[in-house]
């Protein structure tokens, strides 16, 4: 009997700890893992606020113009950008450098393989000066091969499509830079509240919180669950810890003062454009400022 009770308590504690520490991090990871695919496939305007969307569209047009001008100048198109980036990152790692060198040596011994793969991956214009490539960019070629080895087969097979998609990826990259280079950050700019936004609400509610000095008896934090309308008016105020509200007379009296403060301060000065973020939120009323009584 005792043993089973002990196990039951242990399991309950484990579940609570697991849920407490595990779940919020799961929740945070979601926007981190999925963003890159979403940014590439979906229009950003649907993910960002109107102002952000408008500025980005304009910037995209400008970028397109720049790219067109570059084509007119007949400059050879650079190799696909994603592969470059990947190679640069891998160059930074010592172990992979060694692999690249080994592969480069292998390529020297078997030039046929080299040519075939270079033809498939690189656009024809790059091969206009084969001597330079052989002399100076042996390692680069090897890196290209490494890319073909490390990257999924789809890229090698769809090498024709790479050219067509090249312009789009370039544009998207620049949009990423403008928008913060990740979908998560784009979302955060939408959610993020400035310190001023919070301070404005804090200062507003503070004016209405009239608390008895008896609250200094027990230093406590009263949490209230607030629902607001878009105009900042209070829809509902709920005292979070109902159990303590029933049991502790100091908590109950102070929670009532906090509730009065919130209702009295309606409408709240919600930041423009961010009203929806305050549909449901929490107020923590901390009595620790009452001292020397």
């Amino acid at each position: 009997m005792f043993k089973s009770t002990f196990i039951s308590i242990g399991l309950h504690v484990f579940f609570i700890i697991f849920a407490y520490y595990g779940l919020p991090s799961f929740k945070i990871r979601e926007p981190i893992e999925s963003p890159i695919d979403i940014v590439e496939d979906t229009p950003i305007s649907s993910k960002t606020s109107l102002k952000l969307g408008e500025t980005k569209v304009k910037e995209v047009k400008e970028i397109k113009k720049v790219i067109k001008k570059e084509k007119v100048k007949k400059t050879p198109p650079p190799p696909p950008a994603p592969s470059k980036k990947m190679v640069e990152k891998k160059n930074a790692e010592l172990k992979k450098k060694k692999e690249i060198r080994e592969i480069a040596e292998l390529i020297k011994k078997k030039p046929k393989l080299k040519k075939k793969k270079v033809k498939k991956v690189l656009p024809p214009k790059v091969e206009k000066k084969p001597e330079k490539i052989k002399n100076k960019q042996k390692e680069n070629l090897a890196k290209g091969i490494l890319n073909t080895l490390t990257k999924p087969k789809k890229k090698v097979e769809n090498s024709k499509k790479v050219e067509k998609e090249h312009n789009n990826t370039e544009i998207l990259k620049k949009i990423k830079k403008i928008a913060g280079n990740s979908n998560r950050q784009v979302q955060q700019t939408e959610i993020k509240l400035s310190v001023t936004d919070i301070n404005k609400i804090q200062n507003h509610v503070t004016k209405y919180w009239n608390v008895s000095y008896a609250a200094s008896e027990v230093k406590m934090v009263i949490t209230l669950k607030i629902s607001t309308n878009v105009d900042g008016s209070i829809k509902s105020v709920k005292i979070y810890d109902k159990n303590l509200y029933q049991k502790d007379k100091f908590y109950r009296a102070t929670a009532d003062t906090a509730r009065r403060a919130v209702l009295d301060s309606s409408p709240l000065p919600l930041p423009k454009g961010k009203e929806k973020k305050f549909e449901n939120f929490l107020f923590d009323f901390d009595t620790s400022f009452i001292s020397n009584y």
């Binding site: 399991l11 579940f15 609570i16 697991f18 849920a19 407490y20 595990g22 779940l23 919020p24 929740k27 959610i191 509240l193 919070i198 609400i201 804090q202 509610v205 503070t206 004016k207 919180w209 009239n210 608390v211 008895s212 000095y213 008896a214 609250a215 008896e217 669950k225 105020v237 502790d248 007379k249 100091f250 908590y251 109950r252 009296a253 102070t254 009532d256 906090a258 509730r259 009065r260 403060a261 209702l263 009295d264 973020k277 305050f278 449901n280 939120f281 929490l282 107020f283 923590d284 009323f285 901390d286 620790s288 400022f289 009452i290 020397n292 009584y293």
Partner: protein, 446 residues
């Protein structure tokens, strides 16, 4: 198979826990409010309604007493009744809250008085939160019509507790030394009254000098010192029966007898051969134990609420200061280090503060400090202010104040005052004659 089932059961259990707990923790925005106002709460007290003239009059008086109590605490601000828009006719009628909000009122008290018979009345009240539009507390009491004042104090305590969280102190009494006559032939009598000065009565006739009355924390008893034929005696006065018990005659001077927190002992100081030390007397077996043994004057002892420590004042360090020691007299340690002299330390009922009298540059002060001597704050000052006593909730102090003498040979006025521990509101307690040495009772049992 059973193991597999158990495992899947646990997985489901984890998912259920996770779902609920994640929902609980999923709120995005938390805004901390860590400052506010500590000001009197605007409150409206409507006259308690009655069916006929007498009940109506009692209702009006009850509302007045409640108003005086709450305002006198320093925590409430009564809104003038003339400003009322539509007082509800009965406590059971829900007020029209929107009528009251423009007046800045946060809480409203409504009530009624009904005559049950010629002697008995039924008093009902309700406390409303005007902003939250809800009732906070309600109570119905059936009492003797003559006890309407006590009903008003009980209601005041209920309202005070519900709105502040702290226990009330209105249904209490004060015992003090009533003084009259010229300075050289001063008549000193023991007197008792409600904490607001009403229901005043004398307990002794003035045939002998009385000093330092103190309430028992557990019973309706008072201990006091009387000089009978110039011999100091310690008495216990039972307020319920009117009987007095002589605890003993003590050689030399005896000072400031005070009950222990459990009411089983009396602590006092006795002077012998020019030395004053602190003693306890067990009320069950009259056993006297000496706690201090120094060549200095140790006096005004007061127990901590848990009975484990004693504070007292002593001049053992060269000047009069406050000291603390264990209940057995060991580990004596000085706690007051400010300028001036300190006297009459009294431990607060909750133990977090010590009230004292301070003398500095020909002025007297009433102050409070922590039991370790830190956080000294002076609340009141005067030509002579002395003898602080705590209200049972530890939020208000009462003391006596003597005005500076105007003419030589004539005694100056001595009056009782009370002040809340914020020090913002000092009010005089009206007594029929001069008064000194007050002692506050615990809440009167129902």
């Amino acid at each position: 198979m059973s193991n597999y089932l158990n495992l899947s059961f646990f997985k489901v259990l984890i998912l259920i826990y996770s779902f609920f707990i994640s929902n609980l923790l999923a709120d995005d925005i938390r805004i901390k409010i860590n400052s506010g106002q500590v000001e009197p709460l605007p409150i409206a007290i409507a006259d308690f309604t009655g069916e006929e003239g007498k009940a109506n009059e009692i209702g009006r008086q009850i509302a007045e007493v409640i108003s005086n109590n709450l305002v006198g605490s320093g925590q409430f601000k009564a809104v003038e009744s003339a400003a009322f828009i539509a007082p509800p006719t009965s406590p059971s009628v829900r007020p029209n809250f929107t009528d009251w909000t423009p007046l800045g009122i946060k809480a409203l008290i409504t009530g009624s008085v009904k005559s049950i018979n010629e002697q008995q009345i039924e008093v009902e009240f309700r406390l409303w939160d005007i902003i939250a539009e809800t009732d906070l507390i309600g109570l119905r009491l059936s009492v003797d019509a003559q006890a309407w004042r006590r009903v008003a104090h009980i209601i005041s305590d209920e309202i005070f507790e519900r709105l502040s969280g702290d226990s009330g102190y209105f249904d209490t009494r004060i015992v003090y030394v009533a003084e009259s006559g010229p300075q050289n032939k001063r008549l000193k009598r023991l007197a008792i009254m409600d904490q607001d000065g009403e229901n005043h009565q004398y307990l002794t006739d003035g045939s002998f000098l009385v000093l330092t009355p103190r309430f028992s924390p557990t019973t309706q008893e008072i201990t006091y010192l009387a000089y009978f034929k110039n011999e100091p005696r310690v008495y216990i006065f039972n307020l319920e029966t009117g009987e007095q018990e002589l605890l003993g005659s003590f050689p030399g001077m005896t000072f400031a007898p005070r009950f222990s927190p459990f009411g089983d002992k009396i602590i006092m100081s006795l002077a012998e051969k020019g030395v004053t030390d602190i003693y306890t007397m067990n009320l069950n077996n009259q056993e006297v134990i000496r706690l201090t043994n120094s060549s200095s004057i140790d006096t005004s002892p007061s127990f901590s609420p848990n009975g484990k420590k004693i504070i007292f004042n002593s001049d053992r360090g060269g000047s009069q200061q406050i000291y603390i020691m264990d209940a057995n007299g060991r580990n004596v340690k000085r706690i007051s280090f400010g300028k001036g002299r300190y006297a009459t330390p009294v431990w607060a009922p909750k133990g977090e503060l010590i009230a004292f009298t301070k003398m500095l540059k020909n002025k007297f002060y009433i102050g409070v400090m922590s039991p370790d001597g830190s956080g000294e704050r002076l609340l009141a000052e005067g030509y002579l202010v002395e003898g602080p006593t705590w209200a049972p909730n530890g939020r208000v102090l009462m003391y006596f104040k003597q005005e500076a003498p105007i003419d030589d040979g004539k005694s100056s006025n001595v009056n009782l005052y009370k002040i809340d521990i914020t020090g913002f509101r000092e009010t005089r307690v009206l007594t029929p004659s001069d008064g000194s040495d007050p002692a506050w009772s615990p809440l009167i049992p129902n």
